[in-house]
Structure formats: C-alpha cells, structure tokens
C-alpha cells in the first residue's frame, strides 16, 4: 500500500518496532553464542528438535548397550578363567591317573593318588562354584545358590571292614532346595538337567530386541533369540552330565570319583586289574577334551563381545558427532551473526537520533 503522508507518531512507533526487533535479534544471537546451541526452544525449529530427541535417545540406549556388553564380557572372561583353572587342575589329575595306571600294584602310592584326586575333585567343584560379583558363574539361570555340591555316595563295593566304599559324586541344584546327581541315569532327571543346562539369560545389546507375534505387550515365549545375547554359562555344560551308552558318567568330577573308587577297589582286591581303570581314564580324557572345547567356546564368545563393544563405541562417536552437528552452533558463524546484529542495532540507534530531532519546525524562523 502506498502511503502519501504519515503521522509523526507513526514514524516514531515504526522506529520503535524496528529497534525492538533489532534488539531482540541481537539478544537471540547472543544467547546462541553463550549457550552454544542453535536454538533454545522446540518451537524455534521443531523438526530439528525432534531429530535431536531421537539422537539423544539412541545415544543413551547405546551407552546402555555398552554397559551391558562390558558386564557380559566381564562375566564371560571370569567364566573363561575359571574354566582354564579347571583345565589346569585336570592336567594334574591326568598325570596322577597316569601314575596310578603305570604303577598298579604299589598300594601306598595308589592310596596317595586316590586321596590326591579326591582333593582335586574338591578343587574342581570350588572352581565350578566360582562367583562373579555376587552371582554364581556356572549356575546357568541360577545365580543365587552354589550350583554344585560334592556328596559322599555309598557304592556297592565294600572295604576290608565290610563297609561300603563311599565315592564323591557331584550334585547340581537350580534352586538351593532340590539337588540332582549329574550322573543319575533316570531319564526324568537327565531331561531336567538338560533343561537347566540349556537355560538362557538374554541380554539386550542393541541388535534390535525383537518379539514375534502381534501382541502389544512383549511375551518371553515370543522373544526372537538372535536379537539378543545369551550371557548364561552353565557348569553342567562345562563339566558334563548324564551317562554314556555303557553307563559310565560323562561328568568329569564323577569320572574322577569313579576312578578313585576303582583305584580303591583295586587296592582291596589286589588283582591289579587296570582294564577298568584304563577305560575310565579314556572317558576322563574325552570329558577333559569336552571341557577344553567348552573353554574355547567361552573365548569365542568373548571375542564376539569385544567386536560388539568396538562397534558400539564407534556408534557412540558417530551419534555424538550427529548430535553436535544437529544441535550445536558453528561458533564462528554464531559470533559473526552476533556481531552483525549488534552492529545493526547500533546503526538503528544512530538513525533514531536523527529521526527524533528533525522536523520542519526546527528550520522555521
């Protein structure tokens, strides 16, 4: 609209409006410099703010995943070192057993070997009951109760006094109440033990926790297991459980027990029969190999966790970069903007000085 004349007051009012805008702009630019943020309220840039909120969420979630990976990695590392410890004990057991096999008639020697192996049985169980923090490492899903217990079981063999020879056998518990012999041939017990050994404790590590089905509320039955990581380490898997086809235990502690019993039996009968001992020793070596394999698996899991950790830490860096780019000002640009708006405001003030003083009346005689 073209205006042919304008009132003096309107000139002043328009000037004030302009000056006010210029002042506000310089304030906004100053706050941007001081806060280092591109904007202070969502309404200044809702789309960018929404993006920033998403990035923040991802950043915090990524930190959670890093914590989880570190926690699980420590757990697995500790489990692996306990397994290695068990391995070392078993090396000793193996050499003791070989001694016993090579010197089947020396009664005193075999007696000593028997009791040494029994002690090493205790040591293996102690390692299998190792804790990480306040959690038992090898209980599988059970972390609150020591998973293994060594009990003296009566055997069918009598000693010289006619008493039954006792054998140290391994028992497993999932709840601190019910204990199961790991070598109990009862199929029900075996299937229960298998369930305990297979139990998984899943942890979310940012692989996109996923549930199948359409329920709006997640149900464990529908958890897609490759979207999470299993952190459980089962002592049953490490030491073995169940019996082989010939009825021999596959559990390494029980095999040690059986070896000791056979050794003691051999002492009493003085037959010097080494066939049974050799057979048990063979089973022991198989079980020892299984345990080594188990240790290797733990190592592989550890490596995978390290790779995941590296990935998550790279993610963290990238996310941080993104957040900075989305939210933070370019300092040089912000300072330039501020200087410019300051300059504009100063100029506006100067103009005001001339507007306010001049009118035709000043020039009237």
């Amino acid at each position: 609209m073209s205006i042919s004349r304008i009132g003096t007051n309107q000139i002043l009012k328009n000037y004030q409006t302009g000056l006010n805008k210029s002042w506000l702009q310089s304030q906004t630019d100053m706050i941007a410099v001081m806060s280092g943020k591109k904007f202070q309220n969502i309404s200044e840039d809702p789309a960018t703010a929404a993006r920033a909120f998403q990035l923040r969420k991802q950043y915090v979630a990524n930190d959670d995943y890093i914590n989880n990976v570190e926690e699980v990695a420590s757990h697995i590392d500790t489990a692996a070192s306990s397994a290695l410890q068990v391995n070392q004990i078993l090396e000793q057991v193996e050499s003791d057993m070989l001694k016993a096999l090579n010197d089947p008639t020396g009664e005193g020697g075999r007696d000593a070997i028997a009791s040494a192996i029994e002690q090493l049985q205790e040591a293996v169980v102690a390692s299998a009951n190792a804790k990480f923090g306040d959690k038992f490492l090898f209980g599988g899903e059970n972390v609150s109760f020591a998973p293994f217990e060594l009990r003296d079981d009566a055997t069918g063999v009598r000693d010289d006094d006619g008493n039954f020879i006792t054998q140290k056998s391994l028992y497993f518990t999932n709840d601190g109440v019910n204990y199961y012999s790991v070598s109990d041939p009862d199929p029900l017990v075996q299937s229960a033990l298998k369930e305990f050994a297979d139990a998984e404790v899943f942890i979310d590590m940012g692989f996109g926790l996923e549930y199948s089905g359409t329920d709006s509320i997640p149900n464990s039955d529908n958890l897609v297991s490759n979207s999470v990581i299993d952190m459980s380490t089962s002592g049953l898997d490490m030491l073995g459980f169940g019996v082989s086809d010939d009825g021999t235990p596959t559990n390494i502690v029980d095999l040690m027990g059986q070896f000791v019993t056979e050794l003691k039996n051999g002492l009493r009968s003085e037959t010097g029969d080494t066939d049974t001992l050799t057979s048990t020793f063979g089973h022991f070596q198989d079980a020892k190999n299984d345990l080594l394999n188990y240790t290797t698996t733990l190592g592989t899991r550890g490596t995978f966790l390290n790779t995941t950790l590296t990935r998550l830490e790279e993610n963290k860096f990238t996310l941080n970069e993104k957040i900075v780019a989305t939210v933070n000002v370019d300092t040089a640009e912000a300072i330039t903007n501020y200087s410019w708006s300051q300059f504009a405001y100063n100029q506006a003030l100067k103009i005001g000085n001339t507007i306010l003083t001049q009118s035709f009346i000043d020039y009237m005689r």
């Binding site: 609209m1 205006i3 042919s4 304008i6 009132g7 003096t8 007051n9 309107q10 328009n14 409006t17 806060s35 943020k37 904007f39 202070q40 309220n41 969502i42 309404s43 200044e44 809702p46 703010a49 929404a50 920033a52 909120f53 923040r56 969420k57 915090v60 979630a61 959670d64 995943y65 914590n67 926690e71 757990h75 923090g133 306040d134 209980g139 599988g140 899903e141 059970n142 972390v143 609150s144 109760f145 709840d175 404790v201 899943f202 942890i203 979310d204 926790l209 549930y211 709006s216 509320i217 997640p218 149900n219 464990s220 958890l223 999470v228 459980s232 009118s359 035709f360 009346i361 009237m364």
Partner: protein, 755 residues
C-alpha cells in the same frame, strides 16, 4: 445593488477570523501530538458569497469556518478492527502455547524423556543383575521420578488452565463489560452534546479508541444509524453488534444502551461458557437496572393501574384471547400517558403482545431475541386458561413474566466467537483439538492422561506374572482371607469374649453351643434384623476360634484385602481381611494372590494421580524378573520384556468425551519416548505456526495503522507549514484591512483636495 463600502472590512475580519481558527486548530493538533487516539482536525471553511442577483459582478464576502471536522477513513477503521481481532486471538493462543511449551519442552531441561531413558537404563542394568536388590531399587527410584514428573507436568497444566480461566473471567470479561459501559456512557454524552451544540470530536476519539480496544476482544460490526432524537434533530447513532459464528448478530451497544457478558463453568462438561445479557435501557441490567424497573412498577401500582388490575382484567376476559391481547396492549398503551411510566418500562422491556389463538397470548421481547444457535427466540406464550398472573414480582423483587425470569429471557445461551482474544481463551480452554479445532489445554491434558494410563496398564499387566505373592502372617505363612465382621456393641466397639478377644459371626450364623460370657444376639449383617433359631428363640452369635483373629500390621491395624483402592467386600457387604490362620487350620476362603501392580492411578485424573503402587513401594513384591512360575534366581526374561515394552511400540489413543460424540481424537503408535517427544514437538509446531500467523497479523495491522495514520495522524512538518500558511493568511487579511483603511483614507481626504 452596489457593494457596501465597509463590506471589505468584514471580509478582512472574516479572513483574520478564519486564519485564527485554523491557527487554533493547528495548535490543537500540535499540542495533541502525543495524545493516544487523537485524530487530526481541520477547519471546514467556506467562501461566503451573498450573490447580488441584479449585479453585473459577484464578489464574495470572505471566508467562514463552519465547523471543525476529523480526518478519518471509516473503511480503515473497519479493516483495523477486523484484523486486530485476529491479533487478539492469536496473541492469547500464542501466550498460552508458550506456557505449554515451557512445560513440555525438554530441549534444555531434564524431564520425562530423561526419566524414561533412566528407567530403561535401570532395566538394562537389572537385566544382568536380577539377583541384586540395589538394581531393583534403582528401577523403583527411576519409576518414582517418572511418575512425579508426570504429576508435576499435570500440575503445571492445571496452573496454566486456572491462569487462563482467571484471565478470562477476572480480567477480560470484566474489561469488555467496562468498555461496553464506557462506550454507552460516552455515547450518551456525545448524543446530548450533539443535540445542543456541535459534535464533540475529542469524545469521538475516546470512543473510537474504546471500540478499537473492544475489537481486539471480539469480532464486532460497527454501524451508525440515522436516528431522530428530537423533532428535527437527527444524529448518527452508534450501533455495535457481535458477529457470531452463526452469522446472527447480538446488539452490544445501541446508542447509550450497552449489554454485558457473563461467564461460568459448565458443571457437566467443564466448558467455560460465555453468555450475553442484552442492555435494556439507560442502566444496564444490573442491580440498579432492576431496581429502577421495580420502582416503575411500584409507581404503576400507586397509579391505580396495578399489575393486579391488569392481571384481573386478563383473567376476566379469559377465553377470549383476542380481547385479552387487545386489552393488554391498550392497558400498556394507556400507561404511556401516565407519567411516561410505560416508556420507562419499555426502555427496559420493549414488549409486544400478540393473540396466538388457542387461549394463549405471546409476549415478545425485542432487545434479546436470539437463542444459542442464533435462531430467533420464541416469544413467551402465556396460557390464559390457567388463571395464572401474567406479571408477578419474584421474592428478590425482580420481575417475572408468567413464571419466566426476565433476566433469563434477556440472556443468551452459550456464545461462540469467530475471532478475538476471548475466542483465543475459549479455544485454549474448551477445545479438544480434533481435526477442526485448536489443540488447546484439553488436548495436552488428554495426551498426558493417555501416557499415564498406557504406562500403568502395560507395566501392571507385565508385572502380574511369575510367582504369585500372598500377604504373609507374622510367622511367614500365607495369610488367609476372612469376611467375618467382628460383632460390634451399641457404641460400635468389638464385643469381647471372656478371654478379651473379639467375637465374630461365623459363616452360617449357627447358634453357638454353650453360654458365652456375654450373650450376643446374631443379626443379619445386611438387614440388621435379629436371627432366630428353628424353635423361634433368639439366635446367639458364635465366637470363632483364635485362628480367625485378624492379621494386624505393625501399627496394630487390621490388614484388609484390597480391591483397587477400596477394601474388598464379600457378598454380604462385609469387609474382607487377612487372618493369621494358616492353611492347615483354616478351611475357609482360599487366599487370592496379590495384584503385583507397579503403578496406580485414579481414572478421574490419571496423570495427576499416577503413583508407584503402594504395595510395590512398601516392598510386598518386586518387579517380576521372570514371567514363569518357579523360575531360577537369575531368570531375567520378563526384564527383557520390560525393555522390549519400553523400546517397542504402543497404540496411544485419545477420544472426545461422550457428550461430544466420543470419536477418536488422536492416535499415535510408537514408544513411550516417541510419544512424549511427539507431544513436545506438537506443542513446538503449534507455537511456531501460531507465532507466524501472529507476526503476519501484526504486520497487517501495522500496515493498516500506517494507513490510518496517513489519514488521521498529526505530522509536525505539515503543522509547521500550516503555521506559516495561516500566519501569512492572517497577516494578509490584516494587510487587507490596512489597505482598505488606506483606500478609505484616500476617499475621506478627497474633500480636501484642491482646498
């Protein structure tokens, strides 16, 4: 006819006079340069020419200032008032939205979003440490901060609401009413002055300023209607109408008569309602107005033409409605000749009586004839066959017309507005924010409520899995439930047996064998009637055994079975409580597992009352780590579920209230975090959009103000030039006089020539 010799002097005098008038007006303009609302004035000047019909030439007799007028463009006034209403509306909405934004905007503050990520981190930490109580406590603490923040946001929303209501009811509406009444008073002064003298320009300025102010509150239409106020005197009477959305207009100001707005909260819907009461005379319909009216009616009584007489006359002619209508009109007409009483009444109550047949007459009111929907209000029909009085006085002295209160008849229903700051406030308070309406407070209140309901429902459902939890007795056994009320004496205290234990009715109200130390008669717990045995004798209440003693908490209070927030009742209405009876010695009610809810809320105000469930807080149960019963101590599958629920999508839906049809209002599918971010960005977007329209309207109004100023504003340069111009004119007129004087001098000295 010859031109008189001295006519030139008069011309010079007129010239000086008009120049002086113009100088005075210039002075008035300059001195009012800072007066708000001042309109530039100018002298209306004419050239006088008393034409000589016979003369061969025609010379005028100078100039004359006929009047002073304002330089004003009515079209610009209309445009300004239309646009300023939009500024008012957007300004109120923008201000309220900024308040809302400061609640939901978590860009620079710690709030619900962080509480949600904290909660997630607590669950993540817990997932690998489910046997550790401290990680449990962290989840509880994070949940507690979350619900407290939700409560806090709800409180802040309530504060914004009450501030907005206060702003409307205590500031805006009283302000509008004040403006209306001041416009009425100014108009009265303007009309009075206009009749006896000229138009008072300064009063017009004041009134225009008030009308401009009024226009920022409401959409108005201002017209000037030529009205005869006295024989031969016509003035342009100010008429202001409220333009409502239905296109029907309410008269706000008619000359000196102005109405007023009322506001109240609808108890059913919670809506803030605005109604309008039409002005009915020199006094508005206030206490004063009513008392003036009643005084007039008392005078009617004194004049022996009482209401009773009118009512009697109507009653006498019952059955002949035409006659009654005629009679009523005649009576009312007749009154106009008596002390102008009817005029006084009509000033308040312009009425017209019509025979509608069927033994009824109807009385129509003219000032206020519109319903809420803008339709014309039906006249009050009076059934003459009932014999009821047509006019009566109510107990408080106000006039009732056939049972209808005049006040009510003059008051409109709920008003809706098309623009203005009142509309802005109403939109923010009443709108639900569906596709066609402003997203106001209710929208965000509903969003917060939905957030609270969803998080409580999802988490509660997820936690009610795994091992059941029972209330335990002191010995650690599961506490069984009993519905037996202790027997109370007349004072409401439990009746004790000989060993000092409270006595109870047993389940079947069987008569007790033996004689209790204190005989207590069994009564029906529902009707209170005494129970009788088969032989007709009064039945005694049975004392239960010790195992039925109620379970007491640490403070010695009975522990009741809860049903939500209320004590659970059995079929007889008796309260159910836990006993310290154990399963072996108690054969009664099976115990029910406790609900393991994590959150609780009152459905009447979900977000304001969202809390950590009391039993979780006190540690009766914890977060269920596994969804399976008898799971091992390290089983964490349900914690994964919680993580999944926090990460995963939920359907958030809000609905219109039932009285508005209950349609879907908003739907969002996403995580809790996304939902909350969505609320925040919605406020941000709304604020931004409103700010942009506000800016646009402000620029538009500033443009119109510039245009107005180009017509009406005082410009010092111009006035300076006017000073020179009128001063020169004055000097020139004075010079004319001295020139004429010299000419006359020459003429008068002619006789001496040649002497």
């Amino acid at each position: 006819m010859m031109r008189p010799t001295f006519a030139g002097f008069t011309t010079a005098q007129f010239g000086m006079s008009t120049a002086m008038n113009s100088l005075n007006i210039t002075g008035q303009n300059i001195s009012n340069i800072s007066t708000v609302g001042y309109t530039r004035q100018a002298a209306d000047q004419i050239s006088m020419n008393l034409t000589n019909p016979n003369g061969a030439y025609s010379i005028g007799f100078g100039a004359l200032t006929t009047s002073t007028s304002q330089l004003r463009d009515p079209y610009l006034d209309i445009r300004f008032r239309t646009e300023i209403a939009s500024v008012g509306e957007n300004e109120v909405i923008y201000n309220t939205l900024t308040d809302l934004e400061s609640i939901f905007d978590e860009f620079a503050k710690v709030g619900v979003q962080e509480a949600l990520t904290d909660l997630m981190s607590s669950f993540q930490d817990y997932s690998s440490n489910v046997n550790s109580a401290e990680f449990q406590e962290m989840i509880k603490a994070s949940s507690d901060s979350l619900v407290k923040l939700i409560n806090e946001y709800t409180n802040q929303l309530d504060t914004v609401r009450s501030d907005t209501v206060d702003g409307l009811t205590d500031v805006d509406i009283p302000n509008v009413n004040d403006i209306l009444s001041r416009i009425g008073e100014l108009t009265q002064s303007i009309e009075t002055t206009a009749v006896i003298a000229s138009t008072p320009l300064e009063l017009l300025d004041q009134r225009n300023l008030l009308i401009d102010e009024l226009a920022s509150y409401l959409p108005i239409k201002v017209t000037y209607v030529a009205t005869d106020v006295q024989p031969g005197v016509t003035i342009d009477r100010l008429h202001i109408e409220l333009v409502n959305t239905e296109g029907e207009n309410y008269t706000l100001v008619d000359g000196p008569v102005a109405g007023s707005f009322n506001t109240y909260t609808d108890e059913d819907t919670g809506d803030q309602i605005i109604t309008y009461t039409a002005g009915i005379g020199e006094n508005m319909l206030t206490g004063t107005g009513i008392s003036v009216l009643n005084n007039a009616l008392e005078k009617l009584n004194a004049a022996n033409t009482s209401l009773e007489a009118i009512n009697q006359a109507i009653s006498d002619n019952a059955g002949d409605t035409k006659a009654v209508a005629t009679l009523l009109n005649e009576k009312l007409d007749y009154l106009s000749y008596r002390d102008g009483l009817l005029e006084q009444i009509n000033a308040f109550l312009p009425i017209e009586v019509t025979d509608t047949g069927n033994d009824t007459v109807s009385i129509a009111f003219t000032p206020m004839t519109l319903n809420t929907d803008g339709s014309v209000k039906d006249p009050i029909a009076i059934d003459l066959t009932t014999g009821d009085d047509v006019f009566t006085l109510d107990t408080d002295g106000s006039l009732l017309l056939s049972g209808a209160n005049i006040m009510d008849e003059l008051t409109s229903g709920e008003l809706t507005f098309s623009s203005g700051s009142i509309k802005g406030s109403l939109d923010m308070l009443n709108s639900y924010g569906d596709a066609v309406s402003q997203k106001g407070l209710r929208y965000y209140e509903a969003q917060l409520d939905e957030f609270a309901i969803t998080i409580a429902e999802v988490f509660n459902q997820m936690n009610n899995v795994g091992d059941p939890v029972y209330v335990k007795t002191a010995s650690g056994a599961i506490a069984y439930e009993l519905a037996y009320e202790p027997i109370l004496d007349g004072a409401g205290d439990p009746v004790l047996d000989e060993t000092g234990r409270p006595m109870y009715y047993d389940e079947e109200y069987e008569a007790q064998t033996g004689t209790p130390a204190v005989p207590v008669w069994a009564t029906d717990p529902v009707t209170g009637a005494g129970l009788v045995n088969d032989d007709g004798t009064a039945q005694q209440a049975t004392r239960t055994t010790l195992v039925y003693e109620p379970l007491l908490d640490d403070d010695g209070n009975i522990v009741y079975v809860m049903d939500g927030d209320d004590i659970a009742l059995d079929q007889y209405g008796n309260r159910i409580y836990y006993t310290d009876a154990t399963a072996t010695d108690f054969s009664g009610t099976e115990p029910t597992p406790m609900a393991k809810d994590l959150f609780s809320f009152d459905p009447a105000d979900p977000s304001g009352t969202l809390r950590i469930a009391e039993n979780w807080k006190t540690g009766l149960y914890t977060v269920s780590a596994s969804q399976y019963e008898g799971a091992a101590s390290g089983a964490n599958d349900n914690i994964l579920n919680f993580i999944g629920a926090l990460e995963g999508s939920h359907a958030f839906e809000t609905y219109m209230p039932d009285h508005e049809g209950g349609a879907l209002l908003s739907g969002f599918t996403g995580s809790f975090y996304d939902y909350f971010t969505n609320i925040a960005t919605t406020v941000g977007l709304e604020t931004k959009t409103t700010y942009q329209s506000l800016e646009n309207y402000i620029i538009l109004v500033a443009d119109i103000a510039d245009s107005k100023s180009s017509v009406s504003g005082v410009n010092l340069d111009e006035e300076g030039m006017n000073l020179i111009q009128y001063q020169s004119a004055y000097s020139a007129a004075a010079r004319l006089m001295t020139t004429l004087d010299e000419a006359l001098e020459t003429l008068l000295n002619m006789g001496r020539v040649g002497r």
